[in-house]
Every structure is written in structure tokens, then in C-alpha cells.
Amino acid sequence: MHLRVDYDKCTKSGECYYNHPDLFKPGEDGFPAVLQPDVPAELEWEARGAAEVCPVQAIIVSSGGSTTEKA
């Protein structure tokens, strides 16, 4: 599973790094840095949760090897 942030949409709400500190941390500028762009299996549930909790749907998870993206 691959994880990335669409920084054009990101509003720096912080939901991702507050709720899922194993996957994101706040940068100096307030934008989230992705700690694990290749998500280990045990964190896939968290990654999907992060994609859901982002108020502006700026977190994108996609299955490895697939061309379909889930926003």
C-alpha cells in the first residue's frame, strides 16, 4: 500500500499527524510529512483511517501495483 499527501488540498488541520503519529509527523511549516510512504501491512488500517479522517481528502492511499487510487 502506498501513502501520499496532496499538498495542494492540504489545509494543515493536523488530523493525520495527531491521529496517526506512526504514519505522519508535522513539519516545521505545519504540513504533514509522510513517515512511511510504503505502508507496512500492520499499519494499513491506520492509513485507511487517515485517508478518511482528513477533512479535505488530501490523503491518498493506493494498493501496491494497482493503478487505481482511493482518495
Binding site: 488530523e15 491521529n19 481528502q57
Partner: protein, 435 residues
């Protein structure tokens, strides 16, 4: 000019009826002369300036919110009206896990998916009072009238949250009754507390078969998510599940209902001149929500306890001290908000629109502190905002020429600000035209 009275604060003022009606003068004195106030009478320390509150919110190590830790200042409590307040215990990984069980239902796409249900519940409630207004008109009243608190706002958010919990719609009235008793039990003592406990116990007995059913056949509702959530193979105990449900009902019900009443109060009494603009552009109800949350938020206080000595404003808060954070005072800090005691939908120093949990607005505006900030930011903030704005827009559409029935009003008050009493008008009579 600073007088002796300005300088000295009698801590019994916090218990006075005057403070509950209007805390703002005392807040001013705290901010001006006692930014860190040691309240020996109530055995706590009090912080009131905006920047200090933000610093505390961002310092979860030295200012801990955990209440039910074995070594925290309070023992694990069935004594509390909600039972163990699930989200207040632990910090770090367990706290995050608990929030994450439900957090993504209240923000983002899942919330968007739920908006039609919110709209429908608002419509149903409005139809109830609109129908009676039409019937009253038939009996010869000059126009429609509604008491907004009992006929709408006390009913609306609790029905929304009980929907999300997946509770049978036929039982909604029972939930309204229970949660109102729970809230009274929180805000008052004595017999109200006893009734709150009794209501809680009735509600928990009601939930037992539902918890059994959802454990056996989980669905997509919040109760199912709570009962099936696992951390390292461990699920929540039945008591913890019930505590969680009680918390969601109270946090999701009582606060939002008061927000709606406060928004209408300000439009009818505080700034009827600005209500004109809102009538012409109902999108401005979003500004009404935001400025209400700054000017006089539903929740005025949050609590922390120190985990070590903390130096602030030339004094030292000892370790394991109780600290009261007056959000309502920070929101009126003239260091951040110009003309802070004026309710103004168009102020340029307040960030309007959806709040950011991080508080990092970065556009020259500041956020209100009504939802807190950071780690323990209100989990329901996006849903509260949507519910309140949708409800107010539907109400406005259903109440042409809405105006106050009474020329004066006792104002916004709380049973007890320091005991978690939430602020709102006790009733709000509104007249409107019926065609």
C-alpha cells in the same frame, strides 16, 4: 487605573451567580492582573490569556489531561455521571486508538455521507413545530411562535448522534430524556447528580441487549465500531463501551444543542443588525457559528494537571496541581482579537470557516479556543459545525420574518461554568410569519 479591588480576586466569585451569568469582567481581571492565578479556595491554578492557553494545549507532557490514570489525581471512577470517561484516560497510543475508533466518522468523507441524515432529522423536527404553528394560526394566533430550546435544539443533536449510534429511532424520546438528566447531573449537584446517575443506569440497562446484538452481528454504526474495536487483540470492556456511548451522547448532544440556541440568541438579541445580512445570505450562519464560539463558547473551561513543576509569569505551578484553562477568557484577549467584547460576524482577526485542529492558520487570523487545540481538540468539531449551520439554515427558511417574542432576555448563562456547565439561553421564544 488599577484599584485595590482590581488587583485582588476573591476566589468565591467563581461560585457566584453573577459569574455564571457574566464571567467576562472577572476574566478581564484575571488576564490583566493574574495571568497565572493561584486559587487556593478551590485548590487549583487558573490560566486565562490566549497565548498561554495555546502553549498549554501544545504541551501535553507537562500539562496532562489524563484523569483516570492509576497515578493521576483521580481514581478510576464509577462515581462520575458518565462512568469512566474513556477519552480522558491515557495519553499517547491508547488515547489515539480510542479516538480513532470513531474519529473518522465525525470528519471528512464519512461526515459528508451522513449530511443527508442530518438534514432529514432537522426537517422532521421543524415540521413538528411548523405543523403546530399552522394549527395555532387556525385557532386565531397572529403568527407562528416557537420556543427554540425545548422544541428544537434540545431534541436535534441527540437524535443525530443516536442515529449514528444505530439506536432505534422509535426510542429517541427515551434518549432525549436520559441525556438531559445526565447533563443536569453533570452541571448540578445533589438530587440532580442522583437523577443523572439513575438515568445513566437506565440507559446502560437499555444498551445491554443492543451491545449483545452488535457484538454478535456488527454493522456500520458507531456502537458496532466501539464493541468490535481491538487493540492488540483486546476489546473494550462492557463498562468502557457504555462509558464511551454515554460520552458521545453528552458530547455530541448537549454541546451542539446549546450552540444552536446561542446562534439564534445572538442574531435576535446581540446583533439583530447583522441578522439582516444573514437573512440575505444564509451561508453567513457559518460566521455566526464561529463568532459565537469565540464570543461566548458553549464550553468555557478545560482541565489539566501538571506532571512536574512549571514556571509561568514569575510563579511556579507545583507538580500534580489542578489547572483550569479558561477558554472563554482567552477568546476575549485583546492581545489577539481587536474589540474582543463586540460580537461581529465580519471581524478580520478571527479565522472563519472550519476550524483546524492544529491551530496553524498562518493567514494573519487566529482561531477561537472553543474546541481547544491539538491533541485533545474536540473530536466532533466538524460535525457540530455542520449540524449547527444546517439546522440554523433550515430554521431560518421555515421561519420567515423571525423575531424575538420578548423585548428583553435574561441572557446566556450556565448552571456552573467550573463544573462543566455549558452556556446557553435557558429558553428562546421566537415569532415568525405563517402563510
Amino acid at each position: 487605573m488599577t484599584t485595590a479591588r482590581d488587583a485582588a480576586i476573591d476566589p468565591r466569585e467563581f461560585d457566584s451567580a453573577g459569574f455564571q451569568r457574566n464571567p467576562f469582567p472577572l476574566y478581564q481581571r484575571l488576564r490583566d492582573h493574574h495571568p497565572l492565578y493561584h486559587d487556593r479556595f478551590h485548590n487549583r491554578w487558573v490560566i486565562s490569556r490566549y497565548d498561554d492557553l495555546v502553549a498549554v494545549f501544545q504541551d501535553n507532557v507537562r500539562f496532562d489531561r489524563a484523569v483516570y490514570k492509576p497515578d493521576g489525581p483521580f481514581a478510576f471512577g464509577k462515581r462520575h455521571v458518565f462512568g469512566p470517561n474513556i477519552l480522558e484516560y491515557g495519553n499517547g497510543a491508547r488515547h489515539n486508538w480510542l479516538r480513532n475508533i470513531v474519529a473518522n466518522q465525525f470528519v471528512g468523507q464519512k461526515l459528508n455521507d451522513f449530511l443527508p441524515v442530518i438534514e432529514q432529522i432537522a426537517r422532521e423536527l421543524i415540521d413538528t413545530f411548523s405543523a403546530s404553528a399552522a394549527a395555532d394560526l387556525a385557532k386565531g394566533f397572529a403568527g407562528g411562535e416557537v420556543e427554540l430550546v425545548s422544541q428544537f435544539s434540545n431534541q436535534f443533536p441527540v437524535r443525530v448522534i443516536s442515529n449514528m449510534l444505530g439506536l432505534p429511532r422509535a426510542d429517541e424520546d427515551r434518549f432525549v430524556g436520559w441525556y438531559q438528566a445526565l447533563i443536569a447531573g453533570l452541571g448540578f449537584g445533589g438530587e440532580h447528580f442522583a437523577r443523572g446517575i439513575a438515568a445513566r443506569d437506565e440507559m446502560w440497562a437499555y444498551l445491554d441487549p443492543i451491545i449483545d446484538a452488535r457484538t454478535a452481528h456488527p454493522g456500520e454504526d458507531l456502537v458496532s465500531r466501539i464493541v468490535t474495536a481491538e487493540l492488540r487483540g483486546q476489546r473494550l470492556s462492557r463498562l468502557e463501551v457504555k462509558g464511551f456511548v454515554a460520552l458521545l451522547l453528552a458530547a455530541g448532544g448537549d454541546t451542539t444543542d446549546k450552540a444552536i440556541a446561542n446562534m439564534w440568541y445572538h442574531m435576535l438579541y446581540t446583533r439583530p443588525d447583522q441578522f439582516t445580512a444573514v437573512r440575505q445570505d444564509p451561508e453567513l450562519w457559518s460566521n455566526v457559528f464561529t463568532e459565537m464560539m469565540r464570543f461566548d463558547p458553549v464550553v468555557h473551561t478545560q482541565g489539566r494537571h501538571t506532571t512536574c513543576e512549571v514556571e509561568l509569569h514569575g510563579d511556579v505551578i507545583p507538580e500534580r496541581a489542578s489547572v483550569t484553562l479558561y477558554l472563554g477568557a482567552g477568546n476575549r484577549d485583546e492581545r489577539v482579537f481587536k474589540g474582543p467584547d463586540t460580537f461581529d460576524l465580519f471581524r478580520s482577526d478571527l479565522h472563519m470557516g472550519r476550524e483546524l485542529r492544529s491551530g496553524r492558520y498562518g493567514d494573519g487570523t487566529a482561531g477561537h479556543l472553543g474546541f481547544g487545540m491539538g491533541q485533545h481538540f474536540c473530536m466532533g468539531y466538524a460535525m457540530a459545525r455542520q449540524e449547527a449551520v444546517i439546522a440554523c439554515q433550515r430554521l431560518q427558511a421555515a421561519m420567515p420574518n423571525a423575531r424575538p417574542k420578548y423585548a428583553t432576555h435574561e441572557g446566556i448563562t450556565a448552571p456552573s461554568i467550573d463544573s462543566g456547565g455549558f452556556r446557553a439561553p435557558r429558553e428562546l421564544w421566537i415569532l415568525f410569519d405563517v402563510s
